[in-house]
Symmetry: C2
């Protein structure tokens, strides 16, 4: 399935309720593939993507978070990690956004759960067997949305409110 860029950008929104329908491995690979085409400072590409699909692992992962309890109901979760470079957070966030947009274009709901700055980073890394030297950037829950309304475009701050010409 192909989706036009602006449609994917506008339809992407946080979706936390999922159907009990597995996501094929090939689809998950396609979603992760989008991550590696993100921009990266100094061409370092510091990212690594851990894809979790085992229900017990998803439940354990969910239980470690505060605002990510719904990960237990997700069909997959991608943990985005980066080596601790100066711009690891920028690189990891750009990769995360590519992943969210690609999931949207494939009809898959997603939600960005914070990793960086969260007290549960060390526990998540331990669970996923990730060396301490890597930084957790985000946890991306994935699943086919329960409601078809879920891809409705959200109202955001108006363009004229956020755009400034030449000076603030």
């Amino acid at each position: 399935m192909l989706m036009e860029l602006m449609e994917a950008i506008k339809k992407r929104r946080s979706i936390r309720e999922y159907l009990d329908k597995p996501i094929p491995k090939k689809v998950l690979e396609k979603i992760v593939d989008a991550g590696r085409f993100a921009p990266t400072a100094r061409a370092l590409q510091p990212w690594e993507f851990v894809v979790i699909t085992e229900p017990t692992m998803l439940r354990e992962l969910a239980s470690l978070t505060d605002h990510g309890r719904f990960i237990s109901e997700a069909k997959a979760c991608i943990a985005v990690y980066c080596q601790d470079t100066k711009y690891y957070l920028e690189d990891g966030c750009a990769a995360t956004q590519n992943i969210l947009l690609t999931a949207t274009s494939l009809g898959i709901g997603s939600c960005w759960v914070a990793g960086d700055k969260k007290p549960y980073c060390a526990q998540v890394s331990k669970l996923l067997n990730v060396p301490d030297s890597f930084k957790l950037v985000s946890l991306i829950s994935l699943g086919y949305p329960k409601s078809k309304k879920d891809f409705k475009v959200i109202k955001k701050r108006d363009l004229k409110e956020i755009i400034h010409w030449e000076r603030f």
Copy 2:
């Protein structure tokens, strides 16, 4: 012009040499518009976008940076700012990535110049009249690419190298 999401994701790359051809205001608005549809923690939408097109301003801006000297030759530059929220960098980076992809889909070259963590943030804010309370996330230079080769897909680390199933 419409472009499929994955094509935009793959074609996006840092482009630093531009034609002497202005970018219509409507096109710049469309590019900034993509930014406001980014995901945002706690729905705060902390972003503000300053669009610089005046050649003297672009030259002054370029001269303040280290790795952004080519901004002086750009036809526009978008300074992405956020209020100092806990996840301002995540939100601002997701917006930046939406902007880079949308520019690509419109045939416009772009380059992400770092803002956050750079010693020149205060000087850039002073130049653009942005209050000290806002954080500079990125400077995005824009222009029609000088070379048609510029949208060639870059080789990145292989998918099988960066994807990990269940555990690292």
